[in-house]
Symmetry: C3
Subunit: 180 residues, 3 copies
């Protein structure tokens, strides 16, 4: 009998180890480039990291613009790349609210309130995220489409360009996933 028991235990053990979602990990797709949604994403990300979860963010589409460094200038862009570069917000401090932006007044009001109430700004949240080893991926296809170059992105400890497969490989191991 002992052989059967050992075999059964090994089987179950392998199954448990290989279970999707078995890691204490959060994978988040940050699709939106709205200030409010980026704030939500970074508050969730830093909160999860502070609780000891591994955190992986995948910035894609409009979200990628939040990762642009405001002062880095990049040459060698195509005409379309320059167009997109001008039309999209240059970094996280240029993002707008999805609602009540009101020609900048609503966005400024929220930022003022956040400061007064000691709510962390996006700048501070990215700093904390870096310190807590939150991993940030940028979607390769989005960068290619919008003509963004790796060199115009922010300096961040764990920043990498990748495709959708890498994101999915993280997501399926994660106990929590969100699309924002």
């Amino acid at each position: 009998m002992s052989v059967d028991v050992d075999k059964a235990i090994a089987e179950i053990r392998a199954k448990v180890d290989g279970l999707p979602g078995a890691e204490n990990k959060l994978t988040m797709i940050v699709f939106s480039g709205d200030l409010d949604k980026q704030l939500a994403a970074m508050i969730i990300a830093t909160g999860a990291a502070a609780m000891g979860m591994k955190v992986v963010l995948f910035f894609t589409f409009w979200g990628t613009a939040a990762l642009r460094a405001p002062l880095k200038k990049i040459g060698g862009k195509t005409f379309m790349g320059k167009m997109f570069g001008m039309m999209l917000p240059k970094g996280r401090n240029k993002l707008k609210l999805s609602q009540m932006h009101m020609a900048g007044m609503g966005t400024a009001m929220l930022k003022g309130l956040m400061q007064k109430k000691n709510v962390a700004s996006l700048d501070q949240l990215f700093d904390v995220a870096g310190q807590l080893a939150v991993k940030i991926y940028i979607c390769e296809m989005s960068m290619d489409l919008m003509g963004f170059k790796r060199d115009e992105m922010i300096d961040y400890p764990e920043l990498e360009v990748c495709g959708v497969a890498t994101m999915l490989a993280h997501a399926k191991e994660s106990s929590v996933q969100f699309f924002i």
Copy 2:
């Protein structure tokens, strides 16, 4: 041998019990204050509860406005709190569609259609949710930012104010999570 087998079984059992996402539970972040998305959230929530899942909702940012009680009047607000109070919808019956609102016509049209087709309204969905013990949390930071007070929120059997950590603790135990 028997000692090893017992130990191995206990180990696997503990691992299975402690697996993230191992509970038949749904955690949903309700970020949006759009009528269509609030409807989607409440239809999913009540549907899941009716299927026997535990359901936890975390209302944050624009979503919190849907939890305001239309008739409760609250004093002692700051100037900014009064401003936000006036600009944000006062309760779930003041929400607008994210698209095709068309100065109220689209929203009214949808509400009329829902009534005609016997689709539950937000009022009815919140009632059902309460009966099915759907737990509702309101994001503390959002309330603080928008100057909302606990006393101006709806009467609901299971309503509590909490931070992002409480939401994440629920999410990681849950088999399903959505950000809406």
Copy 3:
């Protein structure tokens, strides 16, 4: 002792098999009818299917309009059904960007860029999805509300109308879920 060990193993095995989220499967709610979000959904869906995951999509609300076949004409609609039919995009090639649509210019620009960069169009993504056996459900309640009929929807290998309970049953078995 052998009886206890066998019983314990059977118990753990049953528990592991019955764990929510234990399947290598992705369930996605496609709520948005924006071109950018539909692209994101289909890129994730086909990417996951190519990695060997089972993929289930649940198109609801604005998302359902993307499944309309542009050339199919359907009679017997109510007045409201005709209204919605006219106001909502007739199929995936009529969708607009959520931002920078700019009276069609931004949307056309993105489509042109996608072609130039060899990024798959929505047409191609739906083809690939069909080949990779991505299952598509349409939300029954949304179709009913908007007056859409099953016959005006696209020809797709695995297309079925269902309610929220079917979607949730898939979601809770899935290792990954997103609401887009």
